[in-house]
Symmetry: C2
Subunit: 309 residues, 2 copies
Amino acid sequence: MKIVMISPNYDTRAWEDALWNENPDLEIEVYPEDTDRENTDFVLAWNPPKDVFDKYPNLKVVASMGAGIRHITKNKSLNAEVIVTKIEDEQLIEDLQYFVLTSVLNYCRNIPQYVLQQQQKNWNRVAYKQPKETRIGVLGLGNIGLPVAQILAKNNFKVSGWSNSEKEIESINTFAGEDGLSAFLKDLDVVVCLLPLTDDTEDILNEDLFSKMPKGAYLINVGRGAHLNESDLLEALETEQLSGAALDVFQDEPLPKDHPFWENEKITITPHTASVTNPASVANQITENYLRLKEGKELKHIISRKKGY
Amino acid sequence: MKIVMISPNYDTRAWEDALWNENPDLEIEVYPEDTDRENTDFVLAWNPPKDVFDKYPNLKVVASMGAGIRHITKNKSLNAEVIVTKIEDEQLIEDLQYFVLTSVLNYCRNIPQYVLQQQQKNWNRVAYKQPKETRIGVLGLGNIGLPVAQILAKNNFKVSGWSNSEKEIESINTFAGEDGLSAFLKDLDVVVCLLPLTDDTEDILNEDLFSKMPKGAYLINVGRGAHLNESDLLEALETEQLSGAALDVFQDEPLPKDHPFWENEKITITPHTASVTNPASVANQITENYLRLKEGKELKHIISRKKGY
């Protein structure tokens, strides 16, 4: 029994080291150099190629290398019975909390604008916003959205949150479901997307949603690239329905050189760096599930193929 | 009796409006158009010109328009008996707290670097630092430095502080006096200057101080421009003793067009915007002191001419 890693365009060495560090007896192979695919039952994957799972007729588990799993569940070659697991990493959540806090403070303090002004030797003051007068709405109040909303509230921002089902949370104004979306959006200065990516949330950041926010609102996307309708965003910036956006995720990554986002000064681009999984801190989740499979026990961090998270 | 405003190169209208709003009966004049200087006893000032106070032989009070008072106390034309008062603004303190939080998060997350990379369409990830592994030292634990240190500690940074006299503060590692300075500096990732400007602290951010920090440390100056030896900073960036700096205050403001800081990509410049006094929120402190003077009562927010703060 062995683990096969399927993650093209990705340096797998840190993962190999981390897995061996947890269990020196592990056999690890890396696609496409792996052998004996008939007998492979445990795969560790990130962005697996189309049709790749056809080559593994006896696959039992595909473990994602991160919190996202749609790159696996959307792969049409994956049989419905195969178990898909995700990484649950407390550090990732903390990293996202501070990344979003950085992004909203930069919105309040116009730091990206000052960095650009500096190149023009331009001493031009722009009024700043105080956290207590800045209304931030967090889309998604799950295991990531909730702690992000909480750190913003702890730092004096006026925070509201939107989720699928009704929730009650201290010092956060909550809204739920499609019916609650317009009321949630209508008074926001900033909307932060931290939703899981599902068929329902794909393309949710679109013209219709932007039009429900006050003119001049600001967008922060740290969900997934597919949450955002990229041409709708360009249009909303052009018409000034939105004043700007901070984007950490994109439909295509790395963002192609000819993409119009690069040259748009209203957009601040970070290269998918809000939270980066450190293999050393999560490898034990993979090795534990690998042993559980071997011993016939139930695996941890299994996602619902039906719900998509 | 009247208030005379002396603040060349400064739009005094917002102050006039705010003072009249507090007390519609006030008589306000603006230097150099003011009259009857023999009988002027109350001046509101920011950066008063050299020798200007010679024109006011019966001056009793000079009120600063902000928290800084050295622009007044260092004016050689000011008699020793004249009372100098400062503004105490809770909002200024809160604004400084969030400005410093923004600056240290940007240091951790390399946001200024990403803004510059975006212009090169460069998708290059740089490792980030977590607050819990980032050691920040706050120079000055007075009515500004202390709340700044506290908000950083609340956001998981490892915070230490340095002050003139010994202090004990929860979750902040404190150092005091000249003897404690080296020990304070030697393990820091970031030093934040929030000292008052006095003869003792002028030029304190110099080669000697930088050399006591670990190689590659980072400087944030939100004190006063005169705290920093600007050529020592350029030298420390050149030798990589410091990795970068975020500066909000400068020896000359606005920063002159030919100043080498503008073109240095290791320096992030903001145009003295960490905290900006809102006349409307502090005008009552001026009108109250004006009435107190009129009624022979003791004034509030008097600074010690000897201590310089």
